[in-house]
Symmetry: none
């Protein structure tokens, strides 16, 4: 059987809220090392990879590896029934066709249990190699959210350029053009407000803002986000979920790449 307990149920709620729009359905792969999910978004453009470590749970037991096919919309509906302060326990028998979710209020006054029907989903588990990236940028997740939201109102794609000067987000559209630059800054008042640029090599890549914007739904999960960039490779947008694990979003760059996309690409 599989059983996983997390005291801070709000984390699970936020996770599913962050993913449900991108991933309509996917497999929760559970093993004795924890719970993971890998799924393409419905348009097969970007990849979501969730890893929750066994030791990040307050209790974790998995006798046998399982792939549980989850309809994220339905899981979201059920998690909406959990209080933010509830302890959540996930439970499934081996080869079960349902996942049981138990919600317990802090004072045990209220106990709810929900059975979520599981689906059978083709899993195409991709090995994602650990990469050495040309640039790794850590920045406040709220800042990332703000930038991609703002730029979305100007253009459809963004050129992200990392240099030793800082990281620049550029777009253009009918309205005009826009550039937002963040400088390396390791000493703000609060550590969550740091912007750290770890640069091996300058890099500039173009991405569809729509997806970068969607990734920012994970903002409530973590105060910081990490962007990893290498020429011709997908960007990785990663949120650390406390001690539990992380969510990573992968998005391939636009092929018409980095050399000549300064001010005037409105006519695409």
């Amino acid at each position: 059987m599989f059983e996983a307990r997390i005291t801070q149920g709000s984390v699970l709620k936020k996770l599913v809220e962050a993913l449900k729009e991108l991933v309509t359905e996917g497999n929760f792969d559970v093993s004795n090392t924890g719970l993971s999910l890998q799924a393409m978004d419905s348009s097969h453009v970007c990849l979501v990879s969730l890893t929750l470590r066994e030791d990040g749970f307050d209790h974790f037991r998995c006798d046998r590896n399982m792939a549980m096919g989850i309809h994220f919309g339905n899981l979201s509906k059920i998690l909406k029934c959990a209080g933010n302060e509830d302890t959540i326990t996930l439970k499934a028998e081996d080869n079960a066709d349902q996942l049981t979710l138990m919600f317990e209020s802090a004072n045990q006054d209220r106990i709810s249990d929900f059975d979520l029907k599981l689906m059978s989903i083709e899993s195409e588990h991709l090995g994602i190699p650990d990469q050495d990236y040309s640039a790794e940028i850590k920045m406040p997740s709220s800042e990332y959210q703000r930038i991609v939201r703002d730029l979305t109102s100007i253009g459809d794609t963004v050129l992200i350029s990392a240099t030793k000067e800082g990281i620049k987000f550029s777009t253009s559209g009918d309205v005009g053009t826009a550039n937002v630059t963040l400088r390396h800054n390791t000493t703000p008042e609060k550590p969550e407000e740091q912007t750290i640029i770890d640069l091996k090599e300058p890099v500039a890549l173009t991405f569809a803002l729509r997806y970068l914007n969607n990734f920012s739904k994970a903002t409530p999960l973590a105060p910081q986000v990490k962007l990893s960039l290498t020429k011709d490779l997908p960007i990785v947008v990663e949120y650390q979920v406390g001690e539990l694990g992380s969510v990573r979003f992968y998005l391939a760059p636009k092929i018409d790449d980095e050399d000549n996309m300064g001010e005037d690409e409105a006519q695409s």
Copy 2:
């Protein structure tokens, strides 16, 4: 003539907001004992019974019994014009075709009066016998609201089971199944958070969630709600409106009743 004055006008506003969706029109029956209303909802499925005692008002006078036909949507429009801190006075001449509402701000700075046109409505006053119920449950009204709202996202009907263990709300639908259990609890920090189960006999009845959900519109009126259950009889959902009186909602159970509705009634 009829004249009734209530210092805390917000109570009247909340009352009408709670009822107006269920009761599009109904008679305010006034007599020297107070004001009452009995009305079926527009689909003739459930019954609303409002009782406001004469001595709950700050001033009450009724020379002659009257049935004042009220269009609740219009009354709501007028009450929206009253401040929450206003004193409200209802006034009508004998056999008048209009009800006058006066709003006075606490410091008398502002005085408004509105005339609401009355309608002639067939009144079908039902005698509702005082019943001995198998189970009476008092619980926080916010908890009731939360449960029926949550379960509405899973299924259409709810099985309410009262046992000495507690009270359980169960539903099922396409997503899966759901059970929420509340335990008897007379000693939380605050008295409004008590859950009191007064059980003469275990009982389990099924109801349409849509209506139970609608009843919860009365939540702002009272911190606690009382559910009264007896086999084959309508559930009573009752809100005590301070010292003024009470609102009671009656809803008949589904006929396919309590014996075999545990886990697997998805295929309805």
